[in-house]
């Protein structure tokens, strides 16, 4: 049951990461940040999120 709950948490975390990502992308694109910096920042943010999500997935093993 806890593992099932874990899956739900994982999906929530995925959704949160996606929502935050979209928000950051929108915010950075509408700020004084240059386009290449925005792209780099999005990539770094995504990599960080993948590490967090991988770690959450690890708990389910």
């Amino acid at each position: 049951m806890l593992v099932d709950l874990g899956h739900i948490f994982l999906y929530i975390e995925c959704a949160l990461a996606l929502i935050c990502g979209i928000f950051f992308w929108y915010f950075w694109s509408h700020s004084l940040m240059h386009r290449p910096t925005v792209v780099k920042a999005v990539i770094i943010y995504t990599l960080g999120c993948l590490v967090c999500l991988a770690f959450s997935a690890l708990a389910l093993l």
Binding site: E13, C20, F24, S31, L32, C52, F55, S56, A59
Partner: protein
């Protein structure tokens, strides 16, 4: 508040961000505890806690890591968007207080009085970052731009730009002095030529042949045009130096406008333009009648005449709310938004004005504005756009 972003024709010389050494401790303060939590979850042996508890703990650690990561990204964003932008005319400083709060400071380069650099401590000295204290000429105190990279270099670039402006200002002043001097000299010679041609044309030296008379009259008209041009340049220079005297006296502005309209009527009719006027009687004004007539009323009507190839010109004078309102509307070449910005500036020409009116000095409307404002009035222009005509208005305080 509106953010003062660089204008399209403005050259950005320098964009400086905060030093990473300021961001790093804040990021580590968030990330290190969450990473420790993750490490604890990884290293926690199953023999100590149950499988369920271990899973819950790992999940919690992973979730904290995610929250910590998002927090670091937010810190980086606010850190990165703190920036100093130096353009060829302004210095802009943005402070991203939080994601939703941004504060912008703006200085005109010419308004910067002093830039001090403050580097405090070994770390700042070693990593070459510090604080700029910028003092304005126009106000007390200073604004501190903290923790920016290469502060001494940035201060040097700002001051260099400031010096460049001062040099340009000095050059412009010298040019104006030279122009004024030259105009005086030329005016003297033109006045002599004009008098000589007038004397020849009027037969002061005895009877002359018809071709010679025609030539003398033409030369006289050209000399007059030259004198008028030089006089308007001199008048513009005097207005700027503040050496023009306004002799105020109560007079009938309606009569002045009526006279100017009637003076221009033959020329306007000859150009096949329709001229209508609606002049309210008894518009009394306390001011310099000669200067208002010559530089404001005559100028506005003459401009309408020169810049209207076909159509009509309407002159109206009304009195309302203690103000006398003069409006000259034409169906002429109109004004572009770009030209509108420099319309009343010294020597300000419209992009195509030289084609339509080659004799334009660009000082007419500048002088008209200065004279109107010296009387406590205001002058303005509106136009729907190029080739759609324009309306020039002058408002002056009326005597009740």
């Amino acid at each position: 508040m509106s953010i003062p972003v660089p204008e399209s024709d403005e050259e950005v010389l320098l964009v400086v961000h905060k030093h990473w050494a300021v961001f790093l401790p804040e990021a580590l303060a968030v990330l290190v505890p969450t990473l420790l939590l993750v490490a604890a979850a990884l290293l926690l042996p199953y023999s100590v806690v149950s499988y369920e508890l271990h899973t819950a703990f790992t999940f919690l650690a992973a979730f904290f890591l995610f929250v910590g990561w998002v927090t670091v990204i937010i810190i980086w964003t606010t850190h990165y968007l703190d920036m100093l932008i130096l353009t060829d005319r302004r210095l802009l400083y943005f402070t991203q207080v939080s994601l939703g709060t941004r504060v912008a400071h703006e200085w005109d380069i010419r308004d910067i009085h002093e830039v001090n650099v403050r580097i405090g401590g070994m770390l700042q000295s070693f990593l070459n970052y510090g604080t700029l204290e910028i003092t304005k000429r126009s106000g007390p105190g200073y604004v501190a731009v903290t923790n920016i990279r290469k502060p001494e270099y940035v201060a040097a670039v700002i001051l260099k730009q400031d010096n460049r402006y001062n040099e340009l200002k000095e050059t412009a002043r010298k040019q104006k002095e030279f122009l004024r001097f030259m105009s005086h000299e030329i005016k003297g010679h033109l006045a002599k030529s004009k008098a000589a041609f007038a004397a020849i044309a009027e037969g002061d030296f005895g009877p002359i042949s018809t071709p010679l008379k025609s030539m003398a009259s033409s030369a006289l008209a050209d000399s007059q045009k030259g004198v008028d041009t030089v006089m308007s340049i001199l008048q513009g220079a005097d207005m700027e130096r503040g050496t023009t005297t306004i002799e105020k006296k109560e007079f009938d502005f309606s009569a002045v406008v009526r006279r100017v309209v009637e003076d221009f009527r033959p020329e306007i009719t000859e150009k096949k333009l329709e001229l209508t006027s609606s002049i309210e009687d008894g518009c009394m004004v306390d001011g310099d009648a000669e200067k208002l007539e010559r530089h404001v009323v005559r100028n506005l009507v003459e401009n309408a005449f020169r810049y209207t190839p076909r159509g009509r010109i309407e002159v109206s004078l009304t009195k309302k709310d203690g103000m006398v309102h003069l409006a000259v509307t034409d169906t002429g070449v109109g004004i572009t938004p770009q030209d509108m910005q420099r319309l009343f500036t010294e020597g300000g020409h419209g992009a195509q004005s030289k084609e339509v009116n080659p004799d334009s000095t660009g000082f007419g409307l500048y002088i008209a504005k200065q004279i109107t404002e010296a009387h406590g009035g205001r002058i303005s222009a509106t136009s729907p756009g190029p080739a759609q005509g324009a309306t020039f208005s002058a408002d002056l305080p009326a005597i009740k």
